[in-house]
């Protein structure tokens, strides 16, 4: 336990190391060796954190479930120095070690470490290699702070920190203005959510008078919420609803839920390891982690839970409809991520927080793998991301293919792959939700069918249909600014398998995608039991019997796959279901392809029209009125300053005279009350 501070500490050290020494190492050790060193250190610190997490886990498991919440300082030597201490607000740089935070430590450092390893290969030819790992290590640090923190304010620091890293990494190749714009979009959209989060934090302080989740004395706000009290009496449903919805607003931004999901697909402008680590496996699940962390508070508000469940399931469905028609391999995965995040919130919303976290875990495996696989495909295609120009890659890059198959089956919900168990648990819990549980289930199930369909479409277009490219053209045509750095390296021509460092990562995640779900088999659910001390219990009524649910889930997945395979087998040559003519006339297709015009509407309404309002405020109010006043005051001050500086003549006699006048004034002022006293 005394080593806990090293879990976020090591990546921080890594960050500082790369930030200050990275460039000079590359310079002094030569390009290849320098990059190797940096990659090794960056990956090493993350795996070291994983190792410490495992050690801490061993320690924690020796304790009874009652005691599985330990309070530890995140400073070396267990120092307890307050970070903020103002009035009754005391915030310490402390962490909580409990199953939830440890689980997230495992995901962040484990999957994160694997993706670091992958990135050492993927980014090997990038000139900004040290900068990449600087951000990457910093991200791990902030993410660990987010999950470990003892209070919601420190969590917010981590929350904003990962947001910052996300922004920096999306626009990593900032020479291309589109990437910078994508980074800005992510940052700005997240601000809306963060506004909700920060107001939520303030509301928590107003209602509970503390920001700590739990304290050893039982005075944390979740301690109180679990008992349904506040320092001023009972916890009202209204207060709980307000806080829950505000926090959920934050979660919507970070976890890309409707209507704040628009930044995530654009975020794919970043390097693929970034998409895998930040925009699939870890950061975007922060909202789910946060909601799960405050679950004792959430369960007090049926309205909030309903809202979370509905937003979740709608997002799942909605994003799936868009994923059906996208042509960019990473865009498909991005919308699929949005959709899967919707499932997680559905789980939280129906009170199955553990199930939501289970899906977070399995999703980290298979979606991380899908992105890394996609990265490997893009690598193989020398930077091409458009699936219309792929096909037939099955035999050309076999390792990538077979690992992708594992991930594909996992996300499609085919037993015994990882995604099946978690999705099944969420949907099963939904049937037990008292309000409209069956309706939520039905939408979720239909979405599962669509998921299986569009993922199979991806696999068909990429691996199975006939090739739609010529080897010799690869690498030549894509040099004009496709999204990946590999477009710039002309070394590889033609389709080629990725280097070992990338393949190892793929294999590790593939294994996890296959067996990772076995910890949560219904009836023998180790995962829920492990997580129980961290989440609020929520009584669900008996829903659909488990075997029937599993059967239905498998069937829907299988149907989705089968339909897709059959349809695409008929069009092996083109790899396209619809002919150009059909595409032009089919409204559904056009709507889905154009993201249901939501992004365009946002742009029109907020950027164009909002820009006009901002223009007026800028020119009319700010420049004319406010600046006018400010400039007037400034001018006045300057004038007065000029006026009064004339007293500073430089002559001692003048100074002495001024002093004398002061003396007279002070003496009179001191004697004044005395004189008044005399008269009375």
């Amino acid at each position: 336990m005394s080593l806990v501070w090293l879990i976020p500490g090591l990546p921080l050290i890594g960050f500082l190391f790369h930030a200050f020494l990275g460039k000079s190492i590359v310079k002094s050790m030569g390009d290849a060796n320098g990059k190797k060193t940096i990659g090794a250190i960056a990956t090493g610190v993350v795996f070291a954190s994983l190792l410490i997490s495992v050690m801490v886990f061993m320690d924690l498991m020796k304790l009874a479930p009652m005691d599985q919440r330990q309070y530890v300082s995140l400073l070396p030597g267990g120092a307890r120095i307050p970070w903020i201490s103002i009035g009754s607000l005391h915030v310490y740089y402390m962490g909580i070690i409990d199953p939830l935070s440890l689980l997230m430590c495992f995901i962040v450092t484990g999957v994160g470490g694997v993706i670091h390893l992958y990135a050492t290969g993927y980014m090997a030819d990038d000139k900004d290699y040290p900068r990449f790992f600087t951000y990457f290590n910093l991200f791990i640090f902030f993410m660990l702070m987010l999950v470990l923190s003892e209070n919601i304010l420190l969590m917010f620091v981590g929350w904003e920190g990962v947001g910052l890293c996300s922004y920096l990494l999306i626009s990593f190749w900032f020479e291309d203005v589109e990437n910078s714009k994508a980074g800005n979009k992510a940052f700005i959209v997240n601000r809306i959510g963060d506004l909700g989060f920060s107001i939520g934090v303030m509301t928590i302080f107003a209602v509970f008078g503390t920001l700590s989740f739990y304290t050893p004395q039982g005075t944390g706000f979740l301690d109180m919420a679990a008992k349904g009290i506040t320092p001023h009496g009972m916890l009202s449903v209204g207060a709980a609803t307000l806080i829950a919805l505000l926090l959920f607003m934050g979660a919507c931004g970070k976890s890309a839920q409707f209507p704040l999901y628009v930044w995530l697909p654009d975020a794919m402008a970043g390097p693929t390891p970034v998409s895998a680590l930040i925009h699939a496996a870890t950061m975007v699940t922060a909202g789910v982690v946060m909601i799960t962390r405050v679950s004792p508070l959430i369960v007090h508000s049926p309205i909030a839970m309903m809202v979370i469940a509905c937003v979740g399931v709608f997002t799942a469905f909605y994003a799936a409809t868009i994923a059906m028609t996208q042509n960019d391999i990473k865009k498909v995965l991005a919308y699929s991520t949005v959709s899967q995040l919707g499932y997680m919130f559905l789980g939280c919303g129906v009170g199955a927080f553990a199930a939501g976290m289970f899906h977070v875990t399995t999703h980290a495996f298979f979606k991380g793998l899908l992105f890394l696989g996609a990265g490997s495909v893009i690598h193989a295609m020398s930077g091409e991301q458009d699936m219309r120009k792929m096909g037939g890659l099955k035999d050309r890059i076999p390792v990538t293919f077979w690992t992708m198959v594992c991930a594909w089956l996992a996300i499609s919900g085919i037993p015994p792959f990882a995604g099946f168990w978690s999705k099944d648990e969420i949907l099963g819990s939904a049937t037990g939700f008292p309000q409209y549980g069956m309706a939520l289930y039905a939408v979720g199930m239909f979405t599962a069918l669509m998921t299986a369909f569009y993922m199979t479409r991806l696999m068909m277009k990429t691996f199975w249909t006939k090739p739609r490219y010529k080897d010799e053209e690869l690498g030549a045509h894509s040099s004009h600014g496709s999204d990946d750095s590999h477009s710039h390296d002309a070394k590889h021509h033609g389709v080629h398998e990725s280097p070992p460092s990338m393949l190892i990562s793929l294999v590790i995640l593939a294994i996890l995608s296959v067996i990772g779900g076995l910890v949560g088999i219904p009836g023998h659910n180790l995962f829920d039991k492990f997580l129980a001390p961290s989440v609020a219990p929520y009584p669900l009524k008996d829903g659909m019997p488990v075997p029937i649910g599993m059967l239905l889930g498998t069937a829907f997945g299988a149907v989705g796959i089968a339909v897709c395979v059959v349809m695409y087998n008929r069009r092996q040559e083109t790899g396209d279901l619809l002919s150009p003519k059909e595409k032009a006339s089919n409204a559904l297709y056009k709507g889905s392809l154009n993201l249901w015009y939501v992004d365009a509407a946002y742009y029109k309404f907020f950027v164009t029209e909002g820009g006009k309002v901002a223009e007026f405020i800028w020119q009319g109010i700010d420049r004319a009125l406010i600046d006018g006043i400010v400039n007037f005051v400034a001018g006045l001050l300057g004038f007065l300053s000029e006026l009064f500086r004339r007293f500073q003549t430089g002559y001692i006699r003048a100074y002495a005279f001024m002093m004398l006048a002061g003396v007279v004034a002070v003496v009179i002022s001191v004697l004044w009350p005395f004189l008044r006293h005399l008269h009375i």
């Binding site: 500073q648 001024m658 006048a661 002022s669 006293h677």
Partner: protein, 488 residues
């Protein structure tokens, strides 16, 4: 002297004895033993300051404080904390002086000796529980500073500043002495404890005492550079060698405010007489200090006005002491002490950057000198930027926390009007601090770049220390508040 435990008395002033002894020994050594190597002089001076600081800290830890010499010296927490501040100031200034004196051709050992002597004067002011001791301390401090201000013997400006400072200082001392006489006439004592008792028992205020208080305020106000006793400040700060200015700005202000806090804390029962005066002086000082700083084109002069303005903020704390609310009273003193520390770190830091940059052919002080500094010498420019932000009271720096503490104290003791004035002028102040930043970062250099002297490491060390302190205590103010809170 019979019946008095001499060794106990001497123990109480041990830090002073150490410094006095060191000053004599160093002076003799400098003229007899190591005639040319000023390094030894500087090193021994620094060492003696550190030894004294160690002794004081030990006393803080042990809490072993009694009065000495018939209650004329009192080492209470207020005295100890201000003494620490003074010794920090002295140590930082010694580091600053090392290369500067060499480069500017005034490398004389007397500099360090005078610096140590002046710090003992200020320490005596801080521990004085007796008006005569207070006066002696003030004079020891002042005389050393008069000489130090004129230390650059070949520069007319330095000579002028020394003379101005001396003449006006003598003028102010006369008032102070006259005030002491009046107080003695009014109460029959020069000892604060006795005066306090006298005041407690008094049924009607005594006009002679009141006039005495007024004149005392004038004398101390002159040292603290408050309006209208401030006019020497810009001229002297500008003319004196920069390393002296840095030291003078710190030490004189600490000594003066230590005395002001103690004197007016003693005179608390008669607050209705002196509060209006200090109230008005505080407002004038804050407003005009900041106002006049705006049009300056010389960094040293600008900082002189800024130091006047900071004295105004400290006076707000003095006024805020007057309250029936014990917590608010303590908060005000704590705030003032915290602010003194913040003030020395950022002021010495800011002057220190100028010191660090000055070489034998260039004395950095005007805005033209620092134009485009960030491009020529990024490190000192960024340090300077940092001190400017702190002086302007922008978080997360110590300057912000200090201002905030005083602000809170003022509100708690009901001085909302002062708090508002303070907040408003702070906004105006940001302008001229940021102007420096603007000059350094956004303007093109107008002159051929000059090199930083190679021997500037001690100065850089000192400046860096200031910067680190400004951040650490800005981010973790509790570390400092725990120390200043000892007064409770």
């Amino acid at each position: 002297m019979n019946g008095v435990n001499i060794s106990e008395d001497l123990y109480q002033i041990l830090p002073l004895i150490v410094l006095w002894g060191a000053a004599c020994v160093i002076l003799m050594g400098d003229v007899i033993l190591w005639k040319r190597s000023r390094g030894i002089t500087a090193f021994l001076s620094l060492a003696s300051c550190l030894v004294a600081m160690w002794l004081v800290l030990q006393r803080v830890v042990s809490g072993d404080n009694t009065s000495a010499f018939h209650d004329s010296i009192l080492n209470d927490p207020l005295a100890l904390i201000t003494t620490i501040a003074l010794l920090v100031t002295a140590s930082l200034s010694i580091l600053l002086a090392w290369s500067y004196l060499k480069n500017r051709g005034m490398n004389h050992g007397e500099y360090y000796v005078l610096l140590i002597l002046s710090v003992t004067g200020a320490m005596l002011m801080a521990s004085a529980n007796d008006l005569i001791i207070l006066f002696i301390g003030l004079e020891i401090l002042s005389f050393s500073l008069y000489i130090l201000a004129g230390f650059s013997r070949n520069e007319v400006k330095s000579q002028e500043s020394s003379l101005k400072y001396f003449l006006l200082g003598a003028f102010a001392s006369a008032f102070l002495l006259y005030g002491i006489a009046m107080i003695y006439g009014g109460t029959g004592s020069i000892n604060f404890d006795v005066i306090a008792k006298e005041i407690q028992g008094a049924t009607a205020p005594n006009p002679m005492l009141m006039i005495g208080i007024a004149l005392l305020l004038v004398g101390l106000g002159f040292k603290a550079a408050v309006i209208p006793f401030h006019q020497w400040t810009p001229d002297v700060y500008e003319g004196a060698p920069t390393s002296v200015t840095a030291y003078m700005a710190g030490a004189a202000k600490i000594g003066a405010f230590a005395a002001i806090l103690r004197v007016f804390n003693t005179l608390m029962p008669f607050h209705e007489f002196w509060v209006p005066a200090i109230y008005i002086i505080a407002v004038l000082t804050m407003v005009f200090g900041n106002l006049l700083a705006i049009t300056q084109t010389n960094v040293k002069r600008m900082l002189a006005y800024s130091s006047i303005a900071h004295a105004g903020y400290l006076l707000v704390a003095v006024v805020s002491m007057v309250t029936s609310n014990v917590t608010a009273h303590d908060q005000a003193i704590e705030g003032a002490l915290f602010y003194l520390f913040a003030y020395i770190f950022m002021t010495i830091g800011a002057f220190g950057v100028l010191v660090y940059l000055s070489s034998h052919d260039k004395d950095y002080q005007t805005f033209d000198d620092i134009r485009g500094l960030a491009r020529r010498h990024p490190l000192p420019a960024y340090l300077m930027m940092f001190f400017m932000l702190s002086l302007g009271g922008i978080p997360p720096t110590m300057g912000f926390v200090g201002k905030w503490l005083i602000f809170i104290a003022a509100i708690h003791s009901g001085q909302v009007g002062l708090a508002i004035v303070m907040a408003l002028v702070s906004v105006a102040a940001v302008y001229y601090y940021l102007k420096v930043v603007w000059m350094m970062c956004f303007e093109a250099p107008t002159k051929a770049p000059s090199d930083i002297p190679a021997n500037g490491f001690p100065a850089l060390l000192s400046v860096t220390f200031c910067a680190i302190a400004t951040v650490i205590f800005g981010v973790l103010p509790d570390l400092m508040i725990n120390i200043t809170g000892l007064i409770r």
